[in-house]
């Protein structure tokens, strides 16, 4: 499987953020996007996720399921956690798992993987920011999708959780997945390629 | 006791009152047992309150 980006350009609010951006990513590869604030890191991730339109250029996925749009093969971990405070931990995860069309028997192991298995029946309102973040990460594990788009995934995470996330990411890559992450510092992906976004 | 021509309304008034009070009491009892169950559950898992921890 291979993700190709050709001559991408991005306009936000009438301003050109970047253009002429090309890259290719194969199965098992990770790419870290860096660049100063406003360089378009988040916009690029949202573009791959189908949430922002490409002003020019195109994104294609070779291999994989032909009929499925690119957005439906991506997991997007944005700045917000998309978890509802009045639902319990497992209700939250169960909803996203079912909504993305996966079987729900993966929920327990996904919560185990992020270290929240003891809190399944707790309403998410009781969780700290880091715990909510981990619940959000559990979504990536409970539903299989080949491309992970992570926007500053380590924010709000303490170092044991960061290590756990790094293990999850390594596992995902080993299984033939791809990761595109936006980050300011290291996020635990040693062999990741780097894409530096410079203002156009 | 003769309730006269408007017996239905008198009976209905008493019935509604009984129903509302019963619903309130039922809610209180159910809520009480639910809270006790949750508390017991949490205590069984070894969760403690801060006030107990000090002691």
């Amino acid at each position: 499987m291979r993700l190709n980006a050709e001559e991408l350009a991005c306009n936000r609010g009438g301003r050109e953020v970047f253009r002429g951006l090309s890259f290719a990513l194969s199965s098992g590869e990770a790419m870290v996007i860096s660049g100063r604030n406003g360089a378009g890191k988040s916009s690029l991730l949202r573009m791959i996720a189908g949430l922002v339109r490409c002003a020019a250029g195109q994104l294609t996925l070779d291999g994989g399921e032909r009929d499925t749009p690119l957005a439906e093969q991506c997991h997007y971990l944005g700045h917000q956690d998309a978890m509802k405070p009045s639902l319990t931990v497992s209700e939250n995860l169960q909803f996203w798992t079912e909504f993305f069309g996966a079987r729900t028997h993966t929920i327990e192991s996904a919560l185990q993987a992020v270290g929240l298995a003891a809190l399944t029946d707790l309403p998410a309102a009781y969780l700290s920011a880091g715990q909510r973040r981990r619940l959000s990460i559990a979504r990536l594990v409970s539903v299989q999708r080949p491309i992970w788009l992570l926007d500053e995934p380590t924010s709000a995470l303490d170092s044991p959780s960061q290590k756990r996330l790094a293990e999850l990411m390594q596992g995902h890559l080993a299984g033939g997945g791809m990761i595109v992450a936006a980050a300011h510092g290291p996020i635990g992906l040693e062999r990741a390629r780097e894409l530096k976004l410079d203002p156009a | 006791m003769n309730l006269g021509p408007h017996a239905d309304f008198i009976v209905a008034a008493y019935a509604v009152t009984l129903f509302v009070v019963a619903a309130l009491a039922g809610w209180v009892v159910l809520d009480y047992s639910a809270q006790c169950r949750t508390l017991g559950d949490l205590e069984a898992r070894g969760v403690t309150r801060r006030s107990q921890r000090k002691g």
Binding site: A71, Q80, S86, L87, F99 | -
Partner: protein, 222 residues
């Protein structure tokens, strides 16, 4: 189908849990209807005559104002991004949210309408028909309001903007809803024609509302 059920159940759960607004619409309805006699006066004959109009206006305002937060909360916590990335087409997701919203907000309005009709001295025998017009008409209000809710969240504004955008669009529903209710109540005109048109309006909005709302979200949220 699993995704549809999951979203429906989640939204209904959110509405009835702490912080949800399930009965707030019904409460607002009750208050608006109560305020009317203070303005008009407690003349029962007059209230009985304009009762259907008061109930319909109250239901209209209640179901529109309750829509304010329909997409806003999902937008603020990032859920809306993920809802767009599911296998369920956005139009269907939006429609599902609207159905859940109607079940938790619109349906209670229909249920308490006869009680409020009693307070307005509306004839008992016609109360069922009046409730029927609301049962058929309120989904149209929800699905038309859906477009306003989507536009409001795309513009990052809430509250009155929604009402300003949507109220003019609900004019036909109001006209035929009140016409059908009055026909059932006073029998001066036949009930069938306005009621059939009301049904048609509802069916049309069930289709058009989600399409327009999804388009508004797609274009507005980039």
């Amino acid at each position: 189908m699993i995704a549809f059920n999951a979203l429906l159940v989640r939204d209904m759960r959110l509405a009835i849990r702490v912080g949800g607004g399930a009965l707030m619409g019904a409460l607002f309805f009750l208050i608006v209807v109560t305020m009317m006699p203070f303005a008009i006066g407690p003349d029962l004959a007059l209230l009985a005559r304009i009762g259907p109009a008061i109930l319909w206006l109250g239901a209209l305002l209640a179901s529109l104002l309750a829509l304010d937060r329909l997409f806003a909360t999902d937008h603020e916590d990032g859920s809306l991004d993920l809802l767009m990335m599911g296998a369920l087409p956005l139009e269907l997701s939006v429609a599902t949210k609207a159905i859940a919203h109607w079940l938790t907000t619109g349906l209670p309005l229909v249920v308490i309408a006869p009680l409020l009709g009693l307070m307005l001295n509306v004839e008992l025998h016609a109360m069922g028909w009046l409730a029927l017009t609301l049962l058929v008409g309120t989904p149209a209000l929800t699905f038309i309001g859906l477009v306003g809710a989507a536009l409001a969240v795309a513009l990052r504004r809430g509250g009155l903007l929604l009402a300003v955008l949507v109220l003019p669009l609900t004019v036909p529903v109001l006209i035929f809803g009140v016409a059908a209710a009055n026909a059932a109540l006073f029998g001066a005109t036949p009930f069938g024609p306005p009621f059939t048109i009301l049904c048609a309006l509802t069916l049309a909005s069930l289709v058009l509302g989600p399409i327009a709302a999804a388009a508004a979200l797609r274009h507005g949220l980039e």
